[in-house]
Assembly symmetry: C2
Homo-oligomer: 286 residues x 2
């Protein structure tokens, strides 16, 4: 029988939105949390905020951890620091929080025998050491993408962690995950960003640059929100999930083109039918 994940310290690498929120919730459960951060200023502020039991810049802080969460941005997950790799105990369970799973799973399964690729689907618009908050994961999906190589006990530990935080645990193949998040998260960033650019360009072309800004209402605010979000994150999603994002854009272009053709040909009953379908469809995604 395995030692339950909470009987040894849990390690967190990175104390941004996800890492900081994990630390707060785990401390609240009485779990000992040991965190590794990159910068001295982050360590200092994270100690003030009490995001973990111990917070260090030296990877040796992870030595006694039984489960370690790599709460790092996609680019740092895909180009891991050799010192970090060397410091990860071979017996520890390692998981990540990246929003793209295929490249991470491929890389990390070669780097560590007990790696479990996972993705807690929770977030806010904030980032950095100030962003962590309690209860971020409650009721949100936490997706793992195990393969035949994945250690079942390691997978069970990550499931235990996710469920202790109130997440809904699910597993699927990494390729299915990456296509799904391209469709409902990564591609929509570009769709939303293009809307902001079109309003700017179209407003200028119509000599109505001020007017479009004055008249934009809550509908425009909602539709443009993710397009006006963190540019580093949007770029990393597109870069690390490029083929699925291009595939999703291809689906999107076809659908928008079909709606445009209905407007062009004045097929109003068909347009209303399509919009009625969308109205019925949306609750399935909420």
């Amino acid at each position: 029988m395995t030692t339950p994940w909470r009987e040894r310290p849990v390690g967190i690498v990175g104390l941004g939105l996800i890492g900081g929120s994990l630390g707060l919730d785990l401390l609240g459960q009485g779990v000992e949390v040991r965190a590794l951060v990159h910068r001295a200023s982050t360590a200092e502020r994270a100690r003030e905020r009490k995001l973990a039991s111990r917070i260090e810049q030296d990877p040796s802080v992870l030595a006694e951890c039984g489960l370690i969460v790599l709460a790092l941005p996609l680019d740092r997950l895909l180009n891991p620091d050799p010192e970090l790799l060397a410091a990860l105990p071979r017996q520890a369970v390692i998981t990540d929080v990246g929003s793209v799973k295929q490249p991470i799973a491929t890389l990390w399964q070669q780097k560590h025998p007990r790696f479990v690729a996972s993705h807690p689907m929770a977030g806010t618009a904030e980032a950095g050491v100030e962003a962590g908050l309690t209860g971020l994961f409650a009721g949100r999906p936490w997706v793992a993408t195990p393969t035949e190589q994945t250690d079942p006990e390691a997978l069970a530990s990550v499931q235990g962690l996710a469920e202790s935080l109130g997440s809904q645990w699910l597993t699927c193949p990494a390729a299915a995950h990456d296509r799904a998040v391209a469709l409902i998260s990564h591609m929509p960033v570009l769709v939303s960003a293009a809307l902001l650019q079109a309003a700017e360009q179209g407003g200028e072309a119509a000599s109505a640059a001020a007017l479009v800004r004055q008249l934009a209402s809550s509908g425009f605010a909602d539709t443009s929100r993710i397009g006006g979000g963190n540019p580093e994150l949007g770029t990393l999603m597109a870069r690390c999930n490029r083929s699925a994002v291009l595939e999703a854009l291809n689906h999107y272009r076809q659908q928008l083109g079909a709606l445009e053709a209905l407007v062009e040909s004045e097929e109003w009953d068909a347009l209303q039918g399509a919009l009625s379908h969308c109205q019925a469809l949306r609750p399935e995604f909420l």
Copy 2:
């Protein structure tokens, strides 16, 4: 000197979201409100909700009104009931609330000498006799699109009405209004609807129909909100503002194509630059 608009009863034609909200706010100001509705069931419920001082199905209810607001859907504004037209006093100021102004202004200037085309830009997702609420117009733009033919005193009356409700009054040419709302309201409905369709189609193509629904989060909910809204309204906007919507879609397609090309060619710095521009741009629209 003209009689201020509030010294005579104000007429409202239609007691849906806009008409009902107008009635509630005007009654709250102590103004007498006389409303014309189409159906007996609407009249009954509107009386229960006290949306106006008098509520009738007979157009003669408007006889003594000095200012009449046509709070009707676009299609009924563009195909006005002959009985309604005959019942509008020639001395009354008439305005509308339609979200497309060129066709309405063209038609109604021929129908009535004191018509003022206007558009209070306020709304919720609700419609019908239950939807009206107090304070809907406070802080929201109320746009009028006067022409050389517009009676300046009539325009001043509508401005007085709008400002009494707390709206921000502005005027612009009807063509500029229609292009602006195409860019920030009508075209985005199609952009958002296509996203729902792409998530559905792409999910099926990837054998991940259930997964896309499980993993969709608040970002997808926001971006898809207006696409999953009232299909009649979305269709009417596209139908009544067709050329401006097609022009806006053309701008949109170019912008999305440019972002897609950056992903295709892996120009990540340029993509991040574009998304940074969007991040800086969005607050100008809020």
